[in-house]
């Protein structure tokens, strides 16, 4: 029997309020309101609560935990993802996988843990004026979060899907290496993306949030933060409403939260949306602009042997060769990884319909899949997207894919096909509506050269939304300073992936954890009346 730390905590008296079930309005008064319970919100809540501050965490998604995680896509996508894992950019060209439950995307991510690459930090210093973005001063924050979340090398051999990426790279002399993971006692099941059923994944759901709740923090879930209320140069309140599911209208009852300080950690679509809905000061119109996605393209190979990509830890091997071999601000670079395969995810990614689609699905157990994540935001040809509000106040990301990225996408298709043939593929198919399976590398090379690069022909996905509330010293280019403090409001901070001035160029969870830990520690030092350490000494 696997224990469920969330249900046990609730039984032991944690303060968790289901806003969608409220029968009257609710007032909450705390020291700090944290909007969002994902990587940024979880880390922030724990650090503030441990400093003795009263914290309320407001999360739009539901509180689901290991007893609910049944490894079924049809249940997990509507419960745990934004828009049932079908969130799309404005023109529908990019599907964005983003978490929507307590723990945010950390509840459903694939556990890949990388420190912010040195080349990214150097670019932030030189092009965006960030003084604190250096490996030396960030190292203790990475180390702290690695220890907190058990991030370490994964000692188990990779599953065949990942090992084929490794072998293909090895044949071609392309460096590839193992990915560190945030797991403790992992069963190697392969269902990280549907919520970890064994609590091995050290997501916010089983680490920082329980710690914050044990210190008395209040978790208000199924609550959409509608707006922040400003008075002069300060925020005075946050207004939220219950929401039963993403397709439901908000409930009639309001939650009115007052606090000394407010932290946005609603993700790089949610945080800009709250800023925009609240009409907060933004003299340079920065909120929601320069939003990045690591636009990701996919290549599927049919192998002669079973691959069974649905079994075993996903994303355990990667190659940064195509990031490291180009200048960070040159032609777009890309990271290579091997994702998990599940029937719905594979089905909606494979192109075509009818017999041709059914034929590809029949090879499901022999499919090997590589993804290429493009490093966007470092070149003038990659200005990112823009979060806007629809008439009903919901956010929508407009992200046009320009020529600069299409050139990289074609190169990425070529790279992936070459690696897959080197690994022994019988055929390779780029995930593109106009592609046909190629029988060898020469055929693939010719076919990919001719593929039209256009939205809604190439399948483009994203699991990493970043930017939109950039940090930096210059208020003309940044909305918050390097401590995450809003440039124009005294008591507002942003602690999530939206503060990054470009994409990360690696799976972003550890970057968010470390930056949020640093920002939250600064904030705790400022807000906490007596530091717990000093209190302990007295």
């Amino acid at each position: 029997m696997i224990s469920d730390p969330i249900r046990e905590g609730i039984a032991a008296g944690w303060k968790a309020i289901d806003a969608a079930a409220l029968e009257r309005d609710l007032d909450i008064e705390v020291d700090v309101v944290v909007a969002g319970s994902g990587a940024g919100g979880g880390v922030t809540a724990e650090i503030l609560a441990q400093a003795g501050l009263a914290v309320a965490i407001v999360e739009e998604g539901p509180l689901k935990s290991s007893s609910d995680f049944r490894m079924l896509e049809r249940e997990a996508y509507p419960q745990l993802y934004q828009e049932s894992a079908g969130r799309q950019t404005k023109d529908k060209a990019i599907t964005v996988l983003q978490g929507r439950s307590v723990g945010g995307s950390t509840t459903v991510n694939w556990t890949s843990s990388f420190r912010t690459p040195p080349g990214t930090l150097a670019h932030w210093r030189s092009a965006h004026g960030l003084a604190r973005a250096d490996e030396g001063s960030l190292a203790p924050w990475f180390a702290r979060m690695e220890e907190r979340l058990s991030i370490s090398p994964w000692p188990v051999p990779p599953n065949e899907n990942n090992d084929l990426l490794r072998r293909g790279c090895e044949k071609l002399g392309i460096p590839a290496a193992a990915i560190r993971r945030n797991v403790k006692g992992c069963w190697n099941l392969g269902y990280c993306g549907l919520g970890c059923p064994t609590n091995a994944k050290q997501s916010m759901l089983v680490t920082t949030l329980p710690a914050a709740l044990a210190k008395g923090a209040v978790l208000v879930h199924r609550a959409r933060l509608e707006r922040l209320v400003v008075s002069g140069d300060r925020l005075v309140a946050a207004e939220a409403r219950g929401i039963a599911a993403s397709g439901s209208p908000p409930s009639a009852h309001r939650i009115h939260l007052t606090a000394r300080h407010f932290v946005l950690a609603a993700g790089a679509i949610g945080s800009p949306a709250i800023l925009l809905r609240s009409g907060l000061p933004d003299p340079h119109g920065l909120a929601g602009r320069r939003t990045f996605l690591h636009p990701t393209v996919v290549s599927a190979a049919v192998m002669p042997q079973p691959v069974r990509g649905f079994e075993g830890a996903p994303q355990t091997i990667y190659s940064d060769h195509f990031l490291d071999s180009v200048p960070v601000d040159g032609p777009v670079g890309y990271k290579l990884e091997a994702p998990p395969l599940h029937p719905i995810l594979a089905g909606i990614t494979l192109p075509g319909f009818g017999r041709s689609h059914a034929g590809l699905m029949k090879e499901f157990a022999n499919l090997q899949v590589v993804i290429a994540l493009l490093r966007d935001g470092f070149h003038p040809g990659s200005p990112g997207g823009r979060v806007q509000l629809r008439a009903d106040g919901s956010p929508e990301l407009d992200y046009p894919l320009g020529e600069f990225l299409w050139e990289g996408i074609r190169r990425a298709y070529l790279t992936m096909a070459e690696i897959q043939f080197a690994a022994g593929a019988k055929s390779v198919l780029p995930m593109h509506e106009d592609a046909a399976p190629a029988r060898d590398w020469a055929q693939a090379k010719a076919a990919i050269a001719d593929l039209p690069m256009a939205a809604l022909r190439a399948r483009v996905v994203s699991a990493h939304v970043m930017g939109g509330c950039p940090m930096g010293p210059d208020p003309r280019q940044a909305l918050v300073d390097e401590r995450g403090r809003h440039h124009h409001l005294a008591n507002l901070s942003v602690h999530d992936g939206s503060v990054f001035p470009t994409s990360i160029g690696a799976n972003p969870q550890l970057s968010i954890y470390a930056h949020a830990a640093r920002m939250a520690s600064d904030l705790a030092g400022e807000l906490a009346p007596v530091s717990p350490r000093a209190a302990g000494r007295s």
Binding site: S84, G247, S394
Partner: protein, 176 residues
């Protein structure tokens, strides 16, 4: 092969029809069909016409099992749409409203028969035309409809044996 001018005509017609279909919808959204949460009777007939074509080759062949699978696909499509954000639900409602009026079905989709009577060839030709359209709006419509149907079927355990997927593992003791 349509000429550029014909394509443009189709584009203008689609825009006008979408606006008209939206207006028709504003006059009052029809109630969901019996047993469904979201799809109205007309939407259900469209989804029911598309499903066997989109999923051809992946459905059970024995008539009773096939009929049951198709009914489950329509129900899963219905559940999936009802879980999307209100703004996206509205877009899909407009898309189905456009395809549901005779002029939309005929001009934009190129399907002469009613959805209930359309042949698999007619439906397939419609999907191919939208898939390869120069208009992003129609390509997006193709992808929305096919992906919702594919997700509705491959979320169903009845689809798994054919593709060699054993389903999620049983959670016994942690393996050594």
């Amino acid at each position: 092969m349509l000429t550029r001018r014909q394509f443009l005509k189709v584009g203008v017609a689609s825009g006008a029809l979408l606006a008209g279909a939206g207006w028709l919808y504003l006059r009052g959204a029809p109630a969901p069909a019996p047993g469904l949460k979201w799809l109205d009777a007309r939407g259900r007939s469209i989804v029911a016409a598309l499903a066997p074509v989109v999923l051809e080759g992946s459905l059970p062949e024995a008539p009773p099992a096939r009929a049951q699978a198709l009914a489950e696909v329509v129900a899963a499509f219905d559940r999936a749409v009802s879980g999307l954000s209100p703004a996206v639900q509205e877009e899909i409602r407009q898309l189905l409203a456009l395809l549901g009026i005779a002029a939309g079905r005929f001009i934009v989709a190129g399907v002469r028969s009613t959805w209930a009577e359309a042949t698999p060839d007619e439906v397939s030709a419609f999907l191919r035309r939208w898939k390869g359209s120069r208009f992003g709006l129609l390509r997006a419509g193709y992808q929305a409809l096919t992906q919702l149907l594919v997700a509705a079927w491959y979320g169903n355990a009845a689809s798994w044996e054919r593709i060699g997927y054993p389903g999620p593992p049983a959670l016994g003791e942690r393996p050594a």
